[in-house]
Structures are given as C-alpha cells and as structure tokens.
C-alpha cells in the first residue's frame, strides 16, 4: 500500500523542489505582484504587491480585515489568488504548488492560534517538523541520527524549552506553545518565516524574549511578522508595510509610516 502511495507521490512532483536550492540571485525571497482575492464579491486582497528581501525582517500591520491573514493564505497555498503572481525566489510559482509542497520548498508558517501536536512531547513535535524526506515509506523506516538529535536539542535551547523535552506539549503555557510552534518552524529550516501575531497572549517578559529571538533569526532567515502589538513592532521593526482594504497603503521605517498622512487617517480617522 505504501508503494502505491509513494508512486503517486513522485508523479506529483513532490520532493522534487525540496532538493533544488532556492534561487535568490536578485536578493528577493518573496515577490507578490497585483494579487487579488475575493470571497463572494468581497475583495480581501486588491492588487497587492509586496517584495521581501533575503534576510529581511518585515512587519506587516493594518486594521482588522485589511487582508493580512489572506495574504499569508495565498503565500502558503491555502487560498488561491484570483489574479496576480506570487513567486518564491526567482523560479517557484507558488500558485502551482500545494501546501505541503510549499512548506517543503522552504516557507514556514505560524498560525494566529498556536497549533502544535498537543499529545506529543516537545521533542516529538520538533522531530516531526524537522526537515527530512517526508514521504510515507521513508517516514515509516526513519530513525534519528545523532546529528539530528543535536539539532533538536539546539532548537529546544533556542526556544527555551530544553528542560521540557519529554513534556506533553498540551501541558505547556500559552507562551511556551507559541515558542514551540516557532521552534517547529525553525526545524523545517525555512528560507522564509511567516508569523501571524506571534506574541498574542504572551507576558511582557515572554514578548521581550520573542523579540530578541526574531532579531537573532533575521539575516539567516527572512521573516514576515504580522502583529497588532505596536510596542512590539516598534522594538523589532526595520521596515513596516501597512495594509489597508487589501492593498499596500504605506511602506517604510517606523517613523516614516507613523508620519504618513494616509496611515494617520486610516488609524485615527475612524
């Protein structure tokens, strides 16, 4: 049975892109152009264009319904764009791949609500997320090498869960779950991390540490952080994109954005 599952697997072009190195010769990791998505006539995204550089940490803000989550859905293949193009690196057209394939290609996503495997231990959560051949047969016969164990231990240290390796993930605090999910993303060795409200529900101290973690990750990875917490954004942001009604309203540094009359109108004018 596993054989059959594998056969159809290969024909789907699966695992194919995973071996290819991402082509980022022009320094751009993600490129969205004129993306439009509508749900029953409501335009969730309206000719949205955005580009993220390699190693950049970008914050995306905007009022509710501005299209932040829909944008992430389009990038990760959960929602298909009606119009426009989305490229990952120079050569990967995201519209042509499934969620799993996009994840394989190197885009990791953290959801608004932490989604981890509640019945698995912290260690197992990271093991499952780890970059590996994720086809059925390979997974059935997989065994952890010592370097893989080291990598998991390293990540546990990074997310400050090294004392909880065997703890069932469902028993972690909310903030720890958020970190575990970030850790799972890191295990996938993504080129691009999409983080949807990563500090929601965290204590001030946890928020602070998360900020430090993100800053240490920028450079090695590209990060897109969607966040409502302006204090947090101010602390980590270098470049900010403001979304409004499905398209980009303003882009620039914190002070540029704060002084933009259009942004002031959207945020204060209602």
């Amino acid at each position: 049975m596993t054989d059959n599952a594998n056969a159809s697997n290969e024909s789907g072009g699966f695992g194919h892109i995973a071996t290819e190195e991402l082509d980022t010769t022009h320094g751009v990791v993600l490129y969205l152009e004129d993306i439009s998505v509508s749900f029953d006539g409501f335009k969730a995204l309206n000719r949205l264009s955005l580009s993220i550089d390699v190693g950049e940490l970008r914050c995306v803000i905007g009022p509710n319904g501005a299209g932040k989550t829909t944008m992430m859905d389009v990038i990760t293949g959960k929602t298909r764009a009606d119009e426009g193009t989305a490229f990952f690196g120079q050569s990967i057209d995201l519209a042509r791949f499934s969620e799993a394939e996009i994840a394989h290609a190197g885009i990791g996503r953290k959801f608004q609500k932490p989604t981890i495997f509640e019945h698995h231990s912290v260690f197992e959560n990271l093991e499952l997320a780890m970059k590996a051949d994720k086809r059925v047969r390979k997974t059935l016969f997989s065994a952890l090498s010592s370097s893989q164990r080291d990598r998991i231990a390293e990540t546990m240290k990074q997310i400050r869960l090294n004392d909880s390796a065997d703890r069932v993930a469902g028993l972690l605090s909310h903030g720890q779950k958020q970190w575990l999910e970030i850790g799972m993303l890191l295990m996938q060795e993504p080129k691009l991390l999409l983080l949807d409200e990563p500090v929601a529900g965290m204590s001030d101290e946890e928020t602070e540490r998360t900020g430090e973690l993100f800053l240490s990750l920028a450079g090695k990875h590209s990060l897109v952080v969607v966040e409502h917490d302006m204090a947090f954004v101010e602390k980590i942001a270098r470049k900010i994109t403001v979304l409004h009604e499905g398209s980009v309203l303003a882009e620039g540094s914190m002070s540029q954005v704060q002084n933009d009359p259009k942004v002031i109108e959207v945020y204060l004018g209602r």
Partner: protein, 355 residues
C-alpha cells in the same frame, strides 16, 4: 524488539501465545470429551471468532484511534475477505453438494451452466488468498483516494463509508451478482483437502488465527511507535499543521486506511471457515458500527484496548444472546452510551487510572 514492548509486555504476549498455541490445542485434542478440562468445539469456534474480531478491532483502531478517521464501513472489508475465502471453500465442496454438480449449489438452483467470470481460478487457494488481500485493499485505495483528496472528513466520511457498505450489501443480496444472494455461502466441506469440521482442522484454523492476531498486534505496535505513527496521531490532532510541516496527509491517510482494510480482509478470510457461513448481512451498517463500539469500549488509541474491547463485547454478546436474546441490542446501545459518557478512554483508561 525493546522498542515495541517492555519486559512486562513481552511476558504477557508470551503467556497468551502459550495459552493459544499450547494449552487450548491440548485441552481440545488430547482430553476426552467427558473430562471437565475438555475444550469443546463450541468454545474453540467462539474464541477463534473473537480473535478474528480482535484483529478487526486493531485495524479499526489504527484508522480511528490513531489517525482520527472514523470509518463505519470496515465490516465491508471484513466481509469481502470472507467472500473471497468463501469462493474457494465453495469450490472445495466439489460434487458433494446436493445437486452433485461441479458448480456450487446455488448456481445449479439458478440454472446457470457455467461459472461467472468473477469465479475464475477460484478453485486455486493461492488465487483466493490473493483476492482476500487485493479486493479490500484496492477498494480502500480507490475509495480512500477520492475521499481524502476531496478532503472529506469527520462525520461526512463516516456517513459515506456507511453508505458504501450498505450499497455493497444490497448488491450482494441480488442473486444475479453471483455470490449466492441472501443465503451467501455455507455447507463447506473441506479446506486445502482437509475435512473442515474435524477437531484437528478447527484447531489448525484456531492456531492460524492466533498467529495472525499476534502478528497484527506486533505490526500495529511497530507502526504506532514509528515516526509514521507519530505523523498519524499528529494528523488526528492538527491536520493542517502536519500539512504545513511538509507532509502530504492524503498519502498518510490512504496508506493506513488501505493497510487497515487489508488486515480486515484477512480477518474475514480466517473467520469464514471457522463459523462456516458468509452472507450479505455481514455487510449491514450495524456490523460496522459494532466494530467502532468494540474499540470505544476497549479504549481508542491503545492496541491492547482494541483487543480487550472486542473480547469483552463479543463474549458479552454470546452470553446475552443466549440468556436474554431480545435485549442484546439494548444492552449494546447502553454500553456505548455509558462508555461515551463516563469512560471516554474506554476500559484501558479505567485501568490506567487505577494503577
């Protein structure tokens, strides 16, 4: 080896194997029928039957308890395996049937002159053994492919699997389908040339079933303790996250669903020669629901629980249907409600709490 079970687990399996492979056969064959230690054919058949059900319960637990897919059509895979074996047993009757024809009796009765195409090669044991595996396996593969690819989940999946087994039952009820209509297959005489009703053959089938039960248990245990097994439970708990981790969940669900169907098919093939009959009522929706009840009673997501549940419910059933025949279905419904309300982890949950 040590990954599968600890010393306690292996000892328990060893003791149970000793009972099934040595104690029961000796008590059945080497004691005189008058001795109070004698294991009568009634018990050999009943325990053998329950072991077949336990195999089905393990298969069900793999898809429901571990992967979170509630299939209410597993009785169909069991029955298909049984029918494939039944075809071979019908051909083994030879000319000893009532009409003394080369054709099975029901075909003579329908005035058919030759075997339908589906019966091709059915006098060959190896061919029927192949069908036992292939028919349920292919059906599960094709059905699962379309269901999982279309992201049919939860209660919708349960409903269409019920519909599938119901449709198959109606099909097999028809005489024209060529599998004996509502009487199905019965009056078997021989298996592999051996007379089927003797104590020796019965014990042979009994031991075979025991071997396959333990084999299935170890295979299932190996699967659920592998990384593949951890992916399955992860699919149960947060399927979207599994997909975003880069796993193609359709392939995983398809693999375990197909394996589960194949195991059920083999269990059905072991069941039919022991009970001596297979008919379309095995495909009735209620049978498939009962399988889910075994697993729920024993404890979803534990293999020991699945075996325990199949044992408890079925020995209970055979007692009840003799003592108070009318009330069995009420009792079964009550058990299911009580377990759901008070024992969400089944009997295993209760045992774990105690220790």
């Amino acid at each position: 080896m040590s990954r599968l079970y600890g010393p306690k687990g292996w000892t328990l399996i060893g003791v149970l194997s000793f009972i099934v492979f040595v104690v029961f056969p000796v008590l059945s064959l080497k004691t005189s029928p008058d001795s109070s230690f004698h294991l009568s054919q009634y018990w050999v058949t009943l325990i053998g039957k329950v072991m077949c059900y336990a195999i089905v319960a393990i298969a069900m637990d793999l898809v429901w308890g571990y992967t979170g897919i509630l299939s209410l059509g597993h009785g169909l895979f069991f029955a298909l395996g049984g029918y494939a074996m039944g075809m071979y047993l019908m051909r083994q009757i030879g000319r000893e049937g009532q009409y003394q024809s080369d054709l099975p009796d029901f075909m003579v009765f329908l005035d058919w002159k030759e075997l339908p195409l589906a019966w091709w090669n059915s006098d060959q044991f190896w061919w029927c053994a192949l069908l036992v595996v292939l028919v349920p396996g292919l059906l599960a593969l094709v059905f699962g492919f379309f269901a999982f690819r279309s992201r049919v989940k939860g209660v919708y999946f349960s409903i269409i699997t019920q519909a599938l087994t119901f449709a198959a039952m109606l099909l097999f009820f028809r005489n024209a389908t060529g599998f004996g209509g509502n009487n199905g297959f019965t009056d078997f005489k021989r298996i592999l040339g051996l007379p089927i009703t003797t104590s020796e053959t019965r014990i042979m089938l009994f031991v075979q079933t025991g071997i396959f039960l333990i084999g299935t248990l170890l295979l299932a245990r190996w699967i659920v303790t592998s990384k593949f097994g951890r992916v399955l439970t992860a699919i149960r708990d947060a399927e979207t996250r599994v997909a975003f981790c880069g796993y193609n969940t359709v392939h995983y669900k398809l693999a375990i669903f197909t394996l589960s169907a194949v195991i059920c098919g083999i269990a059905g093939a072991l069941y039919v020669p022991q009970v001596g009959i297979i008919n379309p009522s095995e495909m009735s929706p209620a049978n498939s629901i009962e399988i889910a009840i075994w697993v729920a009673v024993g404890g979803r997501g534990t293999l020991t629980g699945a075996i325990l549940g199949a044992g408890l419910v079925n020995f209970g059933k055979s007692y009840f249907t003799q003592a108070f025949p009318e009330y069995w279905l009420y009792a079964l419904g009550l058990i299911f409600i009580l377990v759901t309300l008070f024992l969400p982890q089944g009997v295993m949950g209760l045992l774990k709490k105690k220790t």
